[in-house]
């Protein structure tokens, strides 16, 4: 079975997501990168679930999907709030507080 290939796909997706979170400045793009990371996790979970022969992998993936949707709902609401108050969503410019 193609276990390694799926795990490598998962790892590549995860790393792309991490790069996106660290390098992107637009908050929506950061959110999309985080989604990419979560989907990498789903690929891993399903692959491992198949290897291990346990239903837990699939159940875990279902919960990840549902919770990722809730996270993104809250995240978009926060981004919209920021946009309404400052009319841009550049995460680097969020520096009202420091020290």
């Amino acid at each position: 079975m193609l276990v390694n290939q799926f795990l490598i796909l998962g790892a590549v997706l995860f790393c792309t997501g991490v790069y996106g979170v660290l390098a992107r400045r637009n908050a929506v793009m950061v959110l999309m990168s985080i989604e990419l990371m979560l989907n990498a996790v789903n690929i891993n979970l399903l692959t491992f679930g198949l290897v291990v022969g346990s239903i837990s992998g699939q159940v875990f993936a279902l919960f990840t999907i549902a919770i990722a949707a809730a996270e993104v709902g809250v995240g978009l609401a926060l981004v919209l709030l920021i946009y309404r108050n400052r009319s841009n969503i550049d995460v680097e410019e969020l520096d009202l507080m420091h020290g």
């Binding site: 996790v41 891993n44 979970l45 291990v52 992998g57 875990f60 400052r86 507080m97 420091h98």
Partner: protein, 498 residues
């Protein structure tokens, strides 16, 4: 293998409703709040905080009956355990939640924003914490973590019109979601390589002979680092001061105490149960995290001018003390486990107390600057005395609670009986002295300095804040004078876990 074969025949699971009663009561309170809000927002407005408060106290009743009953219960295929450890922590979360509701009432009523949602969100987050205390499985732990985090992101951004609050919310959100994605990737590796999501099964899989799998090490590191974000361990603490400063002060108290405690509860299960066979990874990691967190948290706290920011960095340093027992998790065993639980309980009360005084003073001065505490003793002696007790306790001066907390952590470090434990003990001692610097500064402001603009009108303390302050004050002093009370909770909680 087909799906049906994996599933097997379905039999109706036996649900132990008594064991689930605290969660069910809390869920009921949340639903009642939302239903009242849907029926008539205006009419029930004054009634909602009462429902929230009684919901929390009501959930405490089954926790007590379960504690009296004393049998360890395990539900849902061992994914959910109701034992002494879970009950002690559940009681802690519920009481901390109750104190936070008390200090929130006036703040939220006088603000301009929705208030019914505030209580349903806070109770949802607390429900997540109750689940976290019982979670003995990766899936249950993940769901609990998200249930407690997602409402907290919204609470941090509560003041919708304030750019600072927006910024607090989005920073907390981005860091939190990124951390949980990293943690989840680690969980997927741990699940795949151990073949199970259950903590005891993972422990058994890890304990087997044979060379450790490198990928497993990465999985364990990712899971633990994900929670290091949650407890704001250096170098993953950068979100904490900004979020604490920008969020509404009662929410900050909630995040600094309850949310951080939930992260430690998860770490307790992971380090002392699931990953116990890999102490070659876990102990050095926490040794580094604890040393960095204590030292850097204290150094940064020394230069803060804003009291909430100072408490945020002091909270980072306190988290460092709580990380110490994890660095000697297998060397000291049960002593280390107890040290974390004892520290968590005492920290919750003294820190909530400090925040409730900050709330009371901010209602008069409207400022968060440390200089605004000048001469507090001359016009509000009660508050100044209470604040002195809380700050001395945080600094670890006997005979207050914080002293005993520092002592058990110190004992756990020395109990390891090796060089790394001894070095940690020295770091603890040095940092305890460093901490006097900034706690002492606030005390000096209150007792010796003049009132900044000569405004000596007394502070009007509302009944709910007064109740919160006295509750936490009594607990802080009692835990210091009679440490055996809290030590007993520590012992109880470590019976089953080890």
């Amino acid at each position: 293998m087909t799906l049906a074969a994996v599933l097997g025949a379905f039999s109706r699971p036996a649900v132990d409703w008594h064991a689930l009663a605290p969660e069910v009561v809390l869920l009921g309170a949340i639903l009642v709040i939302i239903i009242l809000d849907v029926i008539d927002e205006e009419r029930f407005r004054t009634f909602i905080p009462t429902v929230a408060g009684f919901g929390l106290l009501g959930a405490l009743v089954p926790v007590l009956t379960l504690a009296v009953d004393g049998t360890d219960r395990s539900l849902f295929g061992d994914a959910y355990a109701v034992d002494n450890a879970a009950l002690v922590l559940k009681a802690l979360f519920l009481i901390a939640g109750y104190v936070v509701v008390l200090i929130s009432i006036d703040y939220i009523r006088d603000g301009d924003y929705y208030e019914n949602e505030y209580y349903s969100l806070m109770l949802s987050s607390l429900l997540g914490m109750l689940l976290m205390a019982s979670a003995r499985d990766l899936i249950a732990m993940f769901v609990a973590l998200e249930l407690l985090s997602i409402p907290a992101y919204m609470l941090a951004a509560w003041r919708k019109g304030s750019q600072k609050s927006n910024e607090a919310g989005i920073k907390y959100y981005l860091m939190g979601v990124f951390a949980s994605a990293v943690m989840l990737y680690g969980m997927s590796l741990v699940f795949g390589l151990s073949g199970s999501t259950n903590f005891t099964a993972i422990r058994d899989a890890l304990g087997g002979s044979g060379d450790p799998i490198p990928l497993m090490t990465i999985g364990i590191l990712f899971v633990l680092l994900g929670f290091a974000f949650k407890v704001s361990a250096v170098p993953f603490h950068t979100w904490a001061p900004d979020t604490y400063e920008g969020a509404p002060t009662p929410v900050t108290a909630f995040l600094a105490v309850a949310s951080k405690a939930a992260g430690f509860v998860a770490l307790l299960q992971l380090v002392f149960v699931a990953f116990v066979g890999r102490d070659d990874v876990v102990q050095p990691l926490f040794w580094i995290l604890a040393t960095l967190t204590m030292t850097i948290g204290n150094l940064l706290a020394l230069r803060q001018e804003n009291i909430v920011r100072m408490l945020a960095y002091s909270g980072v340093a306190q988290a460092g003390f709580m990380l110490v027992p994890f660095a000697v998790s297998t060397d000291s065993g049960a002593v280390a486990f107890q040290a974390v639980v004892i520290y968590l309980i005492i920290y919750a009360f003294m820190n909530l107390g400090a925040f409730s005084v900050v709330m009371a003073v901010a209602r008069k001065t409207g400022s968060g600057q440390i200089s605004s505490y000048g001469g507090l003793f001359s016009y509000a002696p009660g508050l100044a005395a209470a604040m002195t007790v809380f700050l001395s306790s945080l600094a670890g001066i006997p005979p207050l609670g914080g002293w005993f907390a520092k002592f058990v952590v110190f004992r756990a470090a020395l109990d390891a009986g090796n060089i790394s434990g001894a070095i940690l003990a020295v770091v603890i001692a040095v940092n305890s002295v460093l901490a006097f610097g900034y706690y002492g500064r606030v005390m000096k402001e209150m007792w010796m300095n003049p009132v900044p603009d000569g405004d000596e009108t007394p502070v009007r303390v509302t009944p709910s804040i007064a109740l919160a302050t006295s509750l936490t004050l009594v607990a802080t002093i009692a835990f210091g004078v009679f440490p055996q009370i809290v030590a007993r909770f520590g012992e109880l909680s470590s019976q089953l876990a080890l």
